[in-house]
């Protein structure tokens, strides 16, 4: 269970997609996801999928990573598919007992499942090619205008990137605490759901204590290194758009319009 969590899906590489500014990738992914909502005819999902596969190829991400992205939502997809085909009424295709599947239901199910899968695949591609730090920096810069409205964008971005930094640290800590408790006879794996939740308490309390202690130490270390809340810092990696980004923007917008128009026409 907890031991199997792998976070930080980043796939280390130096492909074209990796080298794009993360704001470009973020915008591209968003445009693609939005455009999927305009697709009605299931046939149209095929070019959408092809576009996505080309992007995966460009990012030199191994094919099995595509399936890996979908595996976590397989249950959701199956569930959606079955329910959508059953509950939608219309021309009956076939029926098993009192359950009947209609043509409209089937189409709707295909549409929904394809849409969710493609959305997840695009989001995974973004995660595979962008580190959390880059993502935080990109969001900070894109949302920088909100600073004028007194939204603490910089602080929030800093919190997000620190949170990501500490996920592996806390997972390791959970494992240590679990081992320590298990060695004293706590059995985390038996009993019903409520029992098992109760057994989590001796895990949660020490974890919280250590998290608070850690954050105090981290805050002190950050202060010692000259971090202040004034926010007037320089940047090691300036986010600068290059020619590649312009081309990528162009392709993303073109693709968006293409899907949008064909989706509205068909």
């Amino acid at each position: 269970m907890l031991r199997d969590i792998t976070i930080g899906k980043y796939y280390n590489g130096s492909s074209l997609i990796h080298s794009l500014d993360c704001r470009t990738k973020l915008a591209g992914a968003l445009l693609y996801i939005v455009s999927l909502f305009f697709v009605k005819d299931p046939i149209l999902f095929i070019p959408c999928l092809v576009y996505l596969l080309i992007l995966y190829r460009l990012a030199s991400i191994p094919w099995h990573y595509i399936l890996k992205g979908l595996r976590s939502i397989v249950v959701l997809l199956v569930f959606t598919f079955v329910f959508q085909s059953l509950i939608t009424s219309g021309r009956e295709l076939f029926s098993i007992g009192f359950l009947s599947v209609s043509y409209e239901g089937l189409m709707k199910a295909i549409r929904l499942v394809s849409r969710i899968s493609l959305m997840i695949l695009m989001a995974s591609l973004l995660a595979y090619t962008t580190t959390p730090t880059q993502m935080a920096a990109g969001l900070e810069k894109s949302l920088g205008f909100l600073e004028k409205l007194k939204v603490p964008v910089h602080e929030m971005a800093m919190m997000v990137s620190i949170a990501f930094r500490f996920i592996p640290v806390f997972i390791e800590e959970v494992n240590i605490i679990m081992d320590a408790q298990a060695s004293r006879g706590v059995d985390f794996y038996s009993g019903n759901v409520f029992r098992r939740m109760g057994k989590m308490m001796p895990l949660v309390v020490p974890l919280f204590v250590s998290a608070i202690r850690r954050s105090a130490e981290l805050a002190m270390a950050m202060e010692a290194r000259g971090y202040t809340d004034a926010g007037n810092r320089t940047r090691y990696r300036e986010l600068i758009y290059t020619k590649k980004d312009r081309t990528a923007y162009l392709i993303s917008i073109l693709m968006f319009l293409l899907i949008l128009i064909s989706g509205l026409l068909l």
Binding site: L218, M222, R225, G226, N232, R233, T234
Partner: protein, 287 residues
Amino acid sequence: MIRASNVVYSYLKYGRTGEEPVSVRALDHVDLEIERGSFISIIGHNGSGKSTLAKHFNGLLFPKEGTVWIDDLPTDGKGNLAQIRQKVCMVFQNPDNQIIGATVEEDIAFGLENMQVPTEQMQERIDRSLEAVGLTEKRNENPGCLSGGQKQKTAIAGAVAVSPQCLVLDEATAMLDPRARREVIRVARKLNEEEGITVILITHFMDEIIHSHRIFVMDHGVVVQSGTPKEIFADPGLLEQYHLELPPVTKLAFGLRQKGLPLELPVLEPEELLKQLLRIRKGGGAC
């Protein structure tokens, strides 16, 4: 470089709810002076106030009485903190709780970003500090995947990049294995000798301090002894009194002397002991 005069620091310790908090005096009229370019060690058992003192050197804590001067800047929390933190950098005990960046490089950049170093200068400074600690080939790694010693060296590199005059290692070796500890100390000595950075080493490992120019011994918030390693280690009874132990080699030499070997005490390094033993054998000494 650093001067502390009559420094007192106390904090309130809260017991169980309902009990009155008691005032604990962590530093009790501390006076000391640290010369530029020297390698200083501060030793003492747990709770002797050595870490509290270290935090005064960087403006993390301010004295309740007395003054700490960094060069000519008093650490009173009135505006010169940024300057002080650029002059004196600290490395703490737990490597996981002081690394902020997602890669080694990014972490080293953190301090530079805070000090508002222009972006164009950063690459060169990062390159130099990576080289100084010997982590150049790890620059793009995730700090989480490094060993404890490498993490501490990352933290040291982050400090060195700011080009401080003084580096405080606040029990920076306490969580490391012996080999990583030696490695971190080696880097600190190198920075001291080659870059002229004043190093203040806070530790309770006696073998780490034998090369220091000066040692301060602390007990109950008071600097009880100071001197060169030879002076401090000359009297084993003195250290015992403060719950500290001699380095193993020094202890061995004491034992041998008690058994009648005419050794010149104190002996700090294995090579020195060996040399003395060989001399005794050649001269046909007591044994």
